[in-house]
Amino acid sequence: MLEVNGIAAAYGSIEALRGVDLSVEEGGITCLLGPNGAGKTTLMMTIAGIVKPRRGSINFLDRDITGMGPSGIVRRGIALVPENRLVFPDMNVHENLIAGAYLRLGKRKAQVRQDIDHVFTRFPRLQERSKQLAGTLSGGEQQMLAVARALMARPKLLMMDEPSLGLAPLVVEEIFRIISDLNADGTTIFLVEQNAHMALQVADHFFLLEQGQVTFSGKPGQLSEHEVIQRAYLGKGQERERPTQDRGHPGGKTH
């Protein structure tokens, strides 16, 4: 469904992605794991059209979308739930949901209304808070709202950047339950995670991204969870080269 071929991207002279190849199969949950600074968020932003790649190509449903702007890519059916910038804080919950459907609001009002009802059935808590300003929701509720808004665009592929970040364990479980439910209802999901334990429970396929390159591709179980966690948090390459010190990536987070 989505094919990323040899994508390289850089911020100034700092290369964040150095030739990434991966693919996302239709109907599944694909997960991208890797340590801080490996380039996970940059990859998501590049697929979404926010960061322009220096090299390589991106195909979605057999069409080249390399270099397209973010709005064009949303129109093609890819929605991104970004990390950190989740909601429009000074708009209420209902307005945030509508915001996800502006592209078709003109022609298909009834359908949008139906989708909102549908989203409210899935997230009853959002319905209770429909008139509340989004900025006043809890972290977990904002994450739900961000997912719900992305669904309003009726995406074929839903990309999520660290949906569990900064949330309490119970809320994380709820978010992952929602992810599984969405997938069961037919949405293809591409997930960036640090929480390897949770991610491996839901993923059909996963990639490890270390220092801007994919270093592993396979199904959960093909690597021991122990090794995945070690590499997802610390980066195996570095550990082998310098086993005693300086495990962290010097570049820090790239977003």
Binding site: P70, S71, V74, F88, P89, M91, I98, A99, L103, L133
Partner: protein, 303 residues
């Protein structure tokens, strides 16, 4: 109504409200313009030329001024729309100063009934007499000002509840997240700049005809700074906000003679305090949200 002073103050509040609404619209889309006075000026000159030199009727002169201001705004918008934050502010400031300096040297005069009429560089543009020639009284002109202001304000209030208004607010809150909803942010921003230019233009055209005289130095950067401050004082949650800002500044500080000497001190202090205490003004989004909630509650209780 024959209190000349009161009419003058109210007229002033009305005309300045247009430029305040103009700066407010750009604040809503998240951009700070220090240059809205340029569109006010372009329209003041444009409409003055149309009525005093070309002999057009007033209403056509006002329309023409607003259109010229809108066109000027489009010229500014296309190259600057990709600029963010400080860069946009500096670009608008530079444009406005450029416009002012052009009017300092712009001379275009024709002889009408033995007298030269038209802009004469830094000496300004005299005898824009259309409203006096057609016997419109100050009070009638006041009604015209507030009639047009009401139309524009109602337009803003409709905009606030519309899809377009929501998109403007989204861009103001987070342009990137807005783009990620599939919306072409730059196109909407160009539209906002043009709309703001037209609104400032209406004010400028009204101003030129009431004052009968315009000169470049009226349109210096302080006019634009005030226009911005009105929204920041009154609040960015609704278009009523900037009007409250104008009423506080001109209605209270400038017009009450006992305190008008301290106007800039009080006004500057007020802006500074509010930016700390209520960074988005008295009627900010949260206040408007709360008021709407109360209003809905009241309506429900009535029924």
């Amino acid at each position: 109504m024959d209190d000349i002073y009161l009419i003058a103050v109210l007229s002033n509040i009305g005309m300045i409200s247009f430029i305040a609404l103009s700066a407010y619209l750009l604040l809503v889309v998240g951009e700070i313009s220090f240059g809205q006075q340029a569109f006010f000026a372009v329209s003041a000159y444009g409409s003055g030329i149309a009525t005093a030199m070309w002999g057009w009727p007033i209403w056509l002169g006002l329309l023409w001024g607003a259109l010229v201001a809108g066109a000027a705004a489009l010229v500014v918008a296309i190259p600057t729309v990709r600029l963010r934050g400080l860069y946009f502010s500096v670009a608008t400031l530079a444009f406005a100063e450029m416009v002012r300096l052009i009017f300092e040297i712009f001379t275009y005069q024709v002889e009408i009934e033995g007298e030269l009429v038209g802009p004469d560089g830094s000496d300004g543009f005299r005898d824009i007499r259309a409203i006096y020639d057609s016997n419109v009284s100050d009070f009638e002109y006041l009604l015209i000002i507030y009639g047009l202001l009401s139309v524009v304000l109602i337009g803003f209030l409709i905009l606030e509840r519309s899809r377009l208004g929501a998109i403007f607010r989204m861009i103001g809150e987070d342009p990137l997240l807005t783009e990620m909803q599939g919306l072409n942010v730059n196109a909407y921003k160009i539209l906002a700049v043009v709309m703001a230019g037209v609104v400032a233009g209406i004010g400028g055209a009204l101003y030129a005809h009431l004052a009968t005289y315009v000169e470049p130095k009226i349109f210096n950067v302080m006019l634009g700074v005030h226009a911005l401050a009105y929204g920041l004082i009154g609040g960015l949650g609704t278009a009523v906000g900037p009007l409250i800002g104008v009423a506080i500044d001109i209605g209270l500080l400038e017009s009450i003679r006992a305190i008008s000497g301290y106007r800039m001190i009080v006004f500057g202090g007020l802006v500074a305090v509010l930016l700390i205490v209520r960074p988005r003004g008295l009627l900010d989004e949260a206040a408007v949200h709360w008021l709407r909630g109360r209003w809905r509650g009241l309506v429900r209780a009535e029924n």
